[in-house]
């Protein structure tokens, strides 16, 4: 579809348009000559790989960055946002990837922070009643008085949406709003989005999940390496087309299950129990094997893995590695034994933002770079080149501060840090959470490669296709216990290697309930 046709389809005037916007950072061109428009009552999906420039656009629209070139036009007028306040005033609100709010304050205070009703003194009655009114509009199931910290992630998203409504925002930006939500919560969010659409608001939706993009969006805009590479109506496009545009090359999304000979048992966990989070966990892991660990959010998967890694102590149970009992008090014991754990929250649990890329990559394997008591810069650089290059880290230079990289590249650096420890067993906790389709395929390939090289891999994931596509065996956890085990291509009925059976085990219910 050409742009003329597109314009014909969208009869109304754009609410907001970007024209020829460019933005550069030292050594990196984040955006180059990007133009697109948003129309009332439409959801526009902004798609692209990590580092393609999506976050930069969000930051420009919310007044955090000032574009080097080009301008933003809102409601027919050219606007200059020099602070987030200007962007609010123009009717733009963002719901962030990692929610930034005030945990100690109440829902109502969070909604009206910065624009409390009343003059010099806050009119609390008005604040609460207006908050309740707005919450009722989106049918929220919590009270305006509730402290924010008692809310779930999904409920916090609803608070942010309410905050946007309190500004009467005409443009609402949702940056990966579903990343931490359960299936039911996602449905709830989509219901609200439909409502916002019906009210004539314009929504920018950023997600890496194609099913969500196709379910929710009316139009799409695709970015690659800071440039717009296409836009159009969602109804006219197919998933492979979008993938090709995003990545610039066709991507095989079918999981290539490698045929890897499985070796001897390397890890044996018996009866691992911790007072509150999990009980009686037993499993074995063999060389060259990929063991999937599936379960709902809160089933205790990460807790078990962090216990094996030494971040917490078990009250009972044993861990044997290569036939010998392991005593692990701290992560360093696990790392020395050859176990690596790539945490799910790679920002908070993995990244050293003020430090350089090289310093980040070598941080868990410094002992290997010591020559006569001192660190060898040359040895560190060799490792950094090899791992950074292998994971295709995009940066200006290897000494660049990690905080300056895009989120996806930060993740790659964190994974590189763990590979640098040369583990025998690598535990990957949600390795593809929040990363784009191109990098995702690379990570999947990479997991296969690791197994091929003789590593034993434990893959913790909430994505069923990923778990079933990659694993040789799947363990399903439910409420802190192992609910079932499945072996690729084996079993029948409730024990069969099928999506239905695995989901049933994870939810703890009988099969038929989860057919839908």
């Amino acid at each position: 579809m050409t742009l003329e046709e597109l314009a014909a389809v969208t009869t109304s005037q754009p609410v907001l348009s970007l024209s020829h916007v460019s933005k550069s950072f030292p050594g990196v061109r984040a955006l180059h000559d990007v133009s697109f428009a948003l129309y009332p009552g439409q959801v526009t999906a902004l798609i692209g790989e990590n580092g393609a420039g999506k976050s930069t656009i969000v930051k420009i629209l919310t007044g955090i960055y000032v574009p080097d070139e080009g301008h933003i036009n809102v409601g027919g007028k050219v606007q200059h946002f020099s602070s987030p306040r200007d962007s609010w005033a123009a009717g733009i609100a963002a719901i962030h990837q990692e929610t930034v709010m005030f945990d100690e304050l109440s829902v109502a205070e969070n909604i009206f922070m910065g624009h409390m009703p009343g003059g010099r003194l806050i009119d609390w009655r008005e604040t609460k009643s207006r908050a309740r009114e707005l919450l009722a509009r989106i049918e929220a199931d919590f009270d305006a008085d509730a402290p924010l910290k008692t809310l779930s992630v999904a409920q916090k998203h609803m608070v942010e949406i309410t905050r946007a409504l309190s500004h009467d925002a005409s443009v609402i930006i949702m940056d990966e709003p579903t990343a931490a939500l359960s299936r039911h919560e996602i449905d709830e969010l989509f219901r609200i989005v439909a409502q916002l659409k019906a009210e004539g608001r314009s929504i920018i939706f950023i997600s890496h999940k194609f099913d969500e993009i196709f379910r929710l969006s009316d139009r799409w805009v695709c970015l690659r390496d800071g440039e717009k590479v296409g836009e159009g109506m969602t109804s006219d496009v197919s998933e492979p087309d979008l993938v090709r545009l995003m990545v610039g090359r066709p991507i095989d999304q079918v999981f290539p299950k490698r045929d890897i000979p499985i070796g001897d048992t390397i890890l044996e966990v018996k009866g691992l129990t911790n007072a509150t989070e999990f009980a009686d966990i037993s499993f074995t892991l063999r060389k060259g094997e990929i063991l999937g660990l599936y379960g709902l959010v809160g089933a205790g998967r990460s807790e078990v893995m962090q216990c094996v890694f030494g971040m917490s102590q078990a009250t009972r149970g044993t861990v044997m590695m290569e036939g010998k009992a392991l005593t692990i008090h701290e992560p360093i014991d696990a790392i020395r034994a050859g176990i690596s754990y790539v945490p799910e929250d790679r920002q908070d649990q993995g990244a050293f933002l003020p430090l350089g890329i090289r310093e980040n990559i070598t941080m868990a394997s410094l002992a290997g770079h010591v020559k006569s008591f001192l660190l060898s810069g040359a040895s560190e650089r060799t490792a950094t080149h090899a791992l950074g290059g292998r994971l295709s880290v995009k940066a200006a230079h290897w000494e660049q501060v990690l905080g300056e990289l895009s989120g996806g590249n930060q993740q790659k650096v964190v994974i590189a840090k763990w590979l640098a420890t040369k583990p025998k067993i690598i535990i990957l906790d949600e390795p593809t959470k929040g990363i784009d389709v191109g990098s995702k395929a690379a990570v999947h390939d990479f997991i296969g490669e690791l197994a091929e090289e003789g590593l034993a891999v434990i893959l913790v994931s909430s994505e069923l296709p990923e778990i079933m596509g990659l694993s040789d065996r799947v363990i399903v956890m439910h409420e802190g216990r192992i609910a079932a085990q499945f072996e690729r291509g084996k079993g029948t009925g409730a024990a069969a290697w099928s999506a239905e059976a695995i989901v049933a085990a994870a939810t703890g219910g009988p099969l038929q309930e989860h057919a839908a």
Binding site: F25, P26, G27, Y65, V66, M311, E330, P331, I332, A334, I335, Y341, P343, D348, Q349, G350, A351, F352, L353, P354, L355, E359, T362, M363, A364, L366, A367, H369, V370, F373, L374, L375, R381, A383, H385, A386, L387, G388, G389, R390, S392, V393, K394, A395, A396, H397, W398, E399, Q400, K417, L419, A420, T421, K422, E449, L450, E453, G454, L455
Partner: protein, 338 residues
């Protein structure tokens, strides 16, 4: 099995080894600014006073800051890992008290030194134990132990003073270690320790781990760094070096009163902050701290030579500190709003 980490495949991106060298980035480094400040202090003082550049005068000037400077080295590491030790001056008092009693009891110089160091070490270890076991922030713990340690000195001594020290002990603080260039022992120890600390922090694996703890303590634990053990060791060394400060200070002034080294913790923290160690952790260099020690020490000495009253000097140094903290934020804010 091939080695997974070395097997490089072609990357889609070309990444340079290091940042392009630009004059502006080198000049805007905090150490460069400190060098310029130091040059300004030296030139200004030389123009104002003919006595400033005299080697013996300068050597005497080092007495006034060397003990604090030694303690600033470990304070820099504590602040780098997001901790602080406000009890250091109180540890000096308690160590000095113990040295004083040992002197009264007639022990020799060696026993006095060992006592001073041992008391400091124990006080520091106690701080570290409380911080790592309780989970209470170190600023709270060390405010508490600050009162505790100095309180003990005040209770046991009242308005008395201890003045009985063997002459060989007093010589440590009152004569030169080298005659030319004239070098007091305390200054010599500071230089040696500064080199050790710089090598440790910037060249060893353990030093690198301190940056990790300061940047992100949770990620540091996940990366196999024994965060609590390192904290405990740093607090213990902080106590030990405060003990060393007490040994040198007591020998220099030859008298122990309960108000000894009062307020030193703030002078020491000033040196560290002016040296460019970020109070939020993860950023800092020993070179910066050493430069800041000289800037502050020589500025104070020069102002004293000009007969500027001590209270006024404090006001000026306070201004210098505020400007030094605000300046980089303002410069950064203007050159790179992103």
């Amino acid at each position: 099995m091939s080695d997974p980490s070395i097997q490089a495949t072609a990357s889609r991106y070309t990444v340079a080894d290091r940042a392009p060298r630009k004059v502006s980035t080198v000049l805007l480094r905090w150490e460069s600014i400190l060098v310029m400040m130091l040059a300004a202090v030296i030139i200004g003082n030389t123009l104002k006073s003919p006595y400033f550049l005299d080697p013996f005068n300068l050597a005497d000037a080092t007495y006034n800051f060397s003990e604090k400077a030694i303690m600033a080295l470990i304070m820099a590491l504590l602040i780098l890992v997001r901790e602080i030790d406000l009890s250091v001056a109180a540890i000096v008092a308690l160590s000095s008290l113990a040295i004083g009693y040992m002197g009264v009891a007639g022990y020799g110089p060696f026993a006095l030194i060992v006592t001073g160091l041992a008391v400091g070490l124990l006080c520091g270890a106690f701080n570290g134990f409380l911080v790592t076991r309780s989970g209470v922030p170190s600023i709270v713990i060390t405010i508490g132990t600050m009162s505790l340690y100095r309180g003990i000195a005040q209770v046991s001594l009242g308005d008395q003073a201890l003045t009985a020290y063997p002459q060989r002990y007093l010589d440590l603080g009152q004569s030169y270690l080298l005659d030319w260039p004239p070098t007091p022992l305390s200054f010599f120890l500071f230089l040696v320790l500064a080199v050790c600390f710089a090598v440790f922090l910037h060249k060893t694996a353990a030093g690198r781990q301190l940056f990790a703890i300061g940047a992100n303590p949770v990620a540091a634990r996940f990366s196999g760094i024994r965060v609590d053990r390192i904290r405990l060791i740093l607090f213990t060394i902080s106590g030990l070096l405060a003990g060393l400060g007490a040994v040198l200070l007591t020998a220099r002034i030859g008298v122990m009163r309960p108000n000894i080294a009062l307020g030193w913790e703030l002078d020491i923290i000033t040196m560290v902050i002016l040296g460019g160690v970020a109070i939020s952790g993860g950023v800092g260099t020993i070179g910066g701290v050493v430069l800041a020690v000289f800037v502050l020490g020589l500025a104070t000495f020069g102002l004293a030579l000009m007969n500027v009253p001590g209270i006024v000097i404090n006001v000026l140094l306070g201004l210098l500190l505020i400007i030094s903290i605000a300046a980089p934020i303002i410069i950064r804010g203007q050159s790179g709003r992103r």
